[in-house]
Amino acid sequence: MNKKIIYILISLAVIFFVTSLIIYLSSSGTFKRAIDDKKGESEIIEETSQELEKVKIFFLTNRSSLFLPKEYEIEKNENRIEFLKIFLALMIDESSNFVATFPEQTRLQSVYYIDDKQMVVLDFNEELIINFPGGSRGEIEFVYFFVNNVCYNFKEVKKVKILVAGNEYKTLSGHLDLENPYKPNYKYFRR
């Protein structure tokens, strides 16, 4: 065989081998594993952020005059104020599955935490006071639904103050004093 032909064949074989190697690596080899590794990392990050925290919310039912507990899991949040807001939203949403303690149109406008007093301030919209049906028992159920559930699940909170539309009201409908914050009273809870 002519030497020139041999060189051509060897060159073609090398080119074929290199091309094959590149195709192999790019389709299913090291490159793909590298991409998979990156995906794996992002999945792990997502799993970390979905860590859940158990809370226990006590609701009013027709079965008992005492509030009964139900457990929930909420996505963990290192920011306790944000976590409290999520917790309160859950309390309000889930109330529709139980006996409510506030009018349907009630919304929580703002939530504050006063650190040095270990006090949470809950500011409800005006509909609370406009549509509240009255009664001492009704007011007690409303106040302690929020005060007890917040203090029970957030040990750093010692008392809760209730405002309506940013204002301090003397009472909700003529009974319980609302000018002052409330400490929890768990006699209304069946623990």
């Binding site: 027709n62 009664g135 009704g138 008392k159 103050k161 940013g166 009974h175 319980l176 914050p181 400490k183």
Partner: protein, 383 residues
Amino acid sequence: MKKFYCFLTYIFIIAVHIFPLSIKVRAFDHNDFTRIVFESDSRFSYVMERGSERDLTIFLKNRPEDIMLRSDLSGSELLNRVENVTNGDDPGIRVKGSERFNILKAFVLKEPFRVVFDVNRKTTNMETEPAITESAQDEYGSDSPEINTSKKGRSSIDVICIDPGHGGSDLGAVGDKNTKEKSITLKVSKKLKKIIERELGIRVVMTRESDVEVALDSRVAKANNQNSQLFLSIHVNSSYRKSARGPETYFVSLKATDKISSQLAMKENSSFNGMDDVPEDDELKMILWSMAQTEHIRESSRLADYIQNELNILLNTKNRGVKQAPFRVLMRASMPAVLIEIAFVSNKYEENRLRDDSFLEKVAESIYTGISKYIYYYNSTFK
């Protein structure tokens, strides 16, 4: 070094005598009460005592200084004299009145430091009773005022105040059949008034006699001003829990709220988000504790118990005991005070009963029986 400490102690002893604690006592009459103010640049803790119904004394605790006393009673007809007194090592200030007076409330204000007492004239005959010592709870911790209320006695009960809940545009709770709390409370109150006056010959004061709106604070002010010895606030209950039923009798709970912390938090945290608009008047700066009702809690509990028992018998309900809650209308009452929730207008069965006049008559009779049992206990214990 030892000599240095001796020198410091010597300087301190000299200083407390050279620089006495300056306290100014002022008193001025308002429409329905007289305000006594003890004002000082320096904060102090104290014990309040009453030697008689015509005087009020505060003894300063842990203050070795002499008191430099200034007084201005020109604004008051009730109070006519201020003097320095001592109790062992504790210096004190006594304010004397031309007539006997009740203490309605006491509180502390800051900047400058002030201890304030609101008092009003007493008009009833009093007899001897053992001293009651109560500790007021306030934010000042160790500076908490201690009250040693040596009342010289109690009169027999000759004025009762009945407060028909709600009224006017304040309908109170409303049932499915449009039964209005304000109408029921007025009907029962009128019936109760009639029975008490007929059977016991006791004068009954009503906070409202018609369908008018009366502010909560005015209701109890009327009871205080009329020197009522019992205060009964009549209400009809309601709950979203439709099965809730039965009578409930409450007396005030001062523990449930944290009044002092609240007042201070509102003031001290006024820069906190959303709190900037909170008005800062004297009321909000106060450390408030209702001494008036604190003094009567035990008797309020007993009165509530007697009434609740009678209502349980009438309505054939289980005795769930009396309850405590921080009711606005009871907090400043300077006499035994209870709030009676006759029945639940939110409960179909009980709403029907509340619409029946003969049932309301029975309710009034039951409350009357409870009151008369309390009066019997009261007379046999205190007279």
